[in-house]
């Protein structure tokens, strides 16, 4: 390996109205290494990568590639210099074949005629060169997420990239796809490519990277070789204080045997285009228990949650709360009977962004008579309560009269959790409760859920983050294509086996699953 770095950033600063996203960043990337950039949300990782990919121009500082100072005015410049980026959200055309997607914009045409066959052959050779498993003639819409990611990778390779930037590539993958991706990345490294890998999942970073650079609040905290780093050390660098990874989850002691609180009985729910999204799902969530729902997103979890909360009609079956049938009740009734709800998308379902912090802090409980004097709100009393609430739950906000959209994602979620927890519920339906949150806020949400569990609440936890489900749940069910394909206690199944259930390549007999709930 050459001792001069391939890419050097010196004193990079990038400002946006209101924030300094990158401040005086100095960083060097060696030729042929896998270099991970880690940091919490808002630490400036994405901005930095966009600067390297030519999407943003830095306000200050310089970039040196191969000993030559470069200035990029757009992604085309970056591509010309051999820098390519795979974005977190894929930019593919579902109705095109793999080959068509890859060559799009760079088609070879003979006499103005594009030959799909020739393009496919070209892509077949390219894929074989890096041992990528991919059929160039397949339509992208038929591919798994992992395969789509390979298409994105080939897209940048096809354009001659020697430096490949991957933005949170594992966020959308199941465990077994992550392994495939890592195998691909290793073979790219072998072929002499340089890879910059952005993530906030420390286990993965430690597994794949050669060196790791930690960003916090727009600045480089340090670069360490992966072989000498530990998870705890990286987390502390990221957050600025020690982080607990071990979750205390003692068995909950109740007065008597735990009673079933929230129950789904043979629940069938229709999704988009009136297709069955949930098919005959049954489970019971008991007092003092967290029932985790694992699965690749889009396998009916969203519809299941919406049906339980009364937001989507139930086609067949029942939802039962403490022995009372609440099927088909309006959401207000279900909430008032003691089901707290943490929706999967806080911007779409959890908050009214243009409204103030205090207004959002009472959303769903805004009819409470305690908030009113006559028909009007007693603003003094409401705001006092909200101030108490945000103090208790440590929601950071300068002014409860400010718009809730000015809060950071972590504080927005804390506000939702605080509001729901303080409503004295008997059950909690939490859907993707830590999505997009930084380590600190994730810790907070987890602790709140465990505390609720300790108080004897029944909690249904739906999450695409398998680690989270395994860490928090007492029991886990896996959903695949709207059905429960297995149920297990965390620690009893290997991650790869769970991955097989999630991908539908393995399933228990219906009797085995149903038996648990009979």
């Amino acid at each position: 390996m050459a001792k001069t770095p391939l890419l050097t950033l010196t004193g990079i600063t990038k400002r946006f109205p209101g924030v300094v996203a990158n401040r005086d960043i100095t960083l060097s990337i060696e030729r042929g290494e896998i270099h991970a950039i880690v940091g919490e949300n808002g630490a400036g990782k994405s901005t930095l990568m966009r600067i390297i990919a030519g999407l943003y121009q830095p306000d200050e500082g310089q970039i040196v590639l191969d000993g030559r100072r470069i200035q990029m005015r757009g992604p085309r410049d970056a591509a010309r210099l051999g820098i390519g980026m795979v974005h977190q959200h894929f930019m593919l055309i579902p109705r095109f074949t793999v080959a068509e997607n890859i060559v799009l914009g760079e088609e070879h045409a003979r006499g103005g005629v594009f030959s799909p066959r020739e393009a496919q052959e070209r892509i077949r050779r390219l894929a074989a060169q890096y041992q990528f498993e991919l059929d160039p003639a397949e339509l992208v819409e038929n591919l798994s997420v992992g395969a789509q990611q390979r298409v994105e990778l080939l897209k940048v390779l096809y354009r001659g990239a020697s430096i490949i930037i991957l933005d949170e590539p594992t966020a959308v993958l199941v465990p077994h796809e992550v392994e495939e991706l890592f195998a691909n990345l290793r073979s790219l490294r072998q072929a002499g490519k340089t890879i910059i890998f952005i993530s906030h999942k420390l286990d993965e970073v430690l597994e794949i990277a050669d060196r790791i650079t930690v960003l916090r609040a727009g600045q480089v905290i340090g670069t360490v070789p992966a072989s000498q780093a530990t998870k705890e050390q990286l987390a502390e660098m990221m957050v600025g204080r020690p982080v607990l990874f071990h979750l205390e989850k003692p068995p909950v002691k109740l007065g008597g045997p735990p009673i079933g609180v929230l129950e789904a009985r043979d629940l069938t729910v229709l999704g988009a285009h009136r297709r069955e999204a949930v098919s005959g799902v049954s489970f019971v969530v008991r007092q003092g228990e967290i029932l985790g729902v694992a699965g690749v997103e889009g396998n009916g979890q969203t519809e299941l949650v919406e049906a339980i909360m009364g937001l989507r009609p139930v086609a067949k079956g029942k939802v039962i709360l403490l022995g009372r049938d609440i099927t088909g009740q309006p959401p207000s009734t279900i909430r008032n009977s003691g089901v707290a709800f943490i929706p999967e998308d806080r911007h779409r379902q959890g908050l009214v962004l243009p409204m103030s912090v205090w207004e959002n802090a009472i959303l769903g409980y805004h009819r409470a008579s305690a908030y009113r004097r006559g028909i009007f709100y007693d603003l003094g009393r409401v705001k006092d309560r909200v101030r108490n609430l945000i103090r208790t739950y440590d929601v950071r906000t300068p002014d409860i009269n400010g718009r809730v959209e000015t809060l950071s994602g972590g504080n927005q979620q804390k506000l939702i959790v605080a509001k729901e927890m303080s409503s004295a519920p008997t059950a909690i339906v939490a859907s993707q409760p830590t999505r997009g949150l930084d380590v600190g806020a994730t810790e907070f949400v987890w602790q709140q859920l465990l505390q609720a569990r300790a108080q004897g609440l029944a909690i249904l936890l739906v999450s695409a983050d398998l680690e989270e489900v395994l860490a928090l749940s007492d029991r886990v069910i896996v959903m695949y294509r709207g059905r429960i394909v297995t149920e297990f206690v965390p620690g009893t199944l290997a991650a790869t086996t769970i991955g097989e259930y999630m991908l539908g390549t393995r399933r228990d007999t219906p009797a085995a699953v149903g038996g648990e709930n009979a």
Partner: protein, 385 residues
């Protein structure tokens, strides 16, 4: 407290800069027709503010616009675009006129309120079908209310001309196409007497009347309903994020239904100031277009009820000033209309741009205020650069 003034200042920033920009753009219009813009603006201001009857007239012209702006704003706040205020106030005026003509023998203190209620009912009835179709069948209210506007003007013509035409108009000239005169017990008195009592003497042709006070009260009421009651809270939540509202247990359809009918109710009041004070009868030339102006008024005010009062006065000012510059500076009336259009266009674009900046600024302030450790200088404890 200081923060409150800052946020008030920020919310005024959009409309005020929009007005300045539109004045500049308007100047180009003047130049294009060969007039000196400074001179024209000077005439407009001196004509409008230099004489009492102009000021009275501005308030009189603003009155229907306040109602109309409020009606539109309530729709906007609930996420509904009520273009049908136009048709709703035609119907309101017709209902009020019917009750004012044919219900007889009541004392004024019963007859007048009853006539006003008829006006409200007319607006509500005309608003009902579009919102029913929206909630039940998903028909877009913009389309249906536009249709309802056309139907309303046809229905009104039919009633005025074919059913309720005044047959006793005397013998002088051709009869006007209008309904019989509204009885004195249903007429809204002007404020001239009251103004005289507090020392302001306006000429007796100025039609400023008590609907102005009603309009201001309506604005205050709308403010309190929207920002101080659970119903208003739900209405705004539904308007800004129906999905979150639904997830929070709010019956979004019912809220939309109620909000739209409330919008229609206020729309029913739009025409009454003209009908019950100035004209005294409903005729085929009854003023049109208040419903559309109300959209501009609400936009300029960013749907704030108090802002609606101010922006209605501004539109009243422009209209009255239009008469002034036509008479005294030789500027054609159409130019005033162009000016109004320029104001609306600049308001829409400028407020959008400024709003973005203001939000970025607010986010910035919030980020500074909430940072546990300031994002600056984590590595250099002494502070400084």
């Amino acid at each position: 407290m200081k923060r409150r003034w800052v946020s008030l200042g920020l919310s005024l920033l959009g409309p005020v800069s929009a007005l300045l920009i539109s004045a500049i753009l308007g100047a180009f219009v003047m130049l294009a027709i060969g007039k000196n813009p400074l001179q024209v603006y000077a005439v407009m201001i001196s004509y409008n503010l230099g004489q009492l009857d102009s000021i009275g007239s501005i308030f009189y012209r603003a009155t229907p616009l306040i109602f109309s702006g409020l009606a539109v704003a309530i729709g906007f706040k609930a996420g509904l675009f009520n273009i049908g205020v136009e048709g709703q106030y035609y119907l309101g005026a017709f209902f009020a006129s019917w009750a004012g003509v044919y219900i007889k023998g009541l004392p004024a203190y019963i007859h007048l309120p009853l006539v006003i209620l008829f006006g409200i009912a007319g607006g509500v009835i005309w608003a009902w079908l579009p919102i029913y179709l929206k909630v039940k069948r998903g028909a877009h209210e913009v389309i249906t209310t536009i249709m309802m506007n056309s139907i309303a003007s046809a229905v009104m013509l039919y009633f005025i001309h074919d059913v309720f035409m005044d047959q006793n108009q005397g013998t002088l000239g051709a009869p006007r196409v209008r309904m019989p005169p509204i009885q004195p017990t249903a007429r809204m008195p002007t404020m001239l007497g009251f103004l005289h009592a507090i020392g302001i003497d306006m000429p007796n042709y100025v039609a400023i009347n008590w609907f102005l006070v009603l309009a201001v009260l309506a604005a205050v009421a709308v403010y309190y309903v929207l920002w101080r009651t659970p119903f208003g809270y739900e209405l705004r939540a539904v308007g800004q994020n129906p999905q979150a509202a639904e997830a929070a247990g709010i019956n979004t359809k019912r809220i939309q239904y109620q909000a739209f009918l409330l919008s229609g109710a206020i729309a029913g009041l739009v025409g009454l100031s003209d009908l019950l004070t100035y004209f005294g009868y409903l005729d085929i030339d009854f003023p049109k277009g208040y419903g559309f102006s109300g959209i501009a008024v609400a936009l300029l005010a960013n749907n704030n009820p108090f802002g609606i009062i101010l922006s209605s006065l501004l539109f009243g000012f422009l209209e009255r000033g239009g008469l002034g510059i036509q008479a005294l500076a030789g500027v054609p009336r159409e130019v005033t209309t162009i000016l109004e259009g320029v104001v609306i266009l600049t308001v829409v674009t400028v407020t959008a741009i400024i709003g973005r900046q203001v939000r970025a600024y607010e986010r910035h302030m919030a980020a500074i205020a909430t940072a546990a450790e300031p994002p600056v200088d984590t590595r250099a404890p002494g502070g400084g650069q």
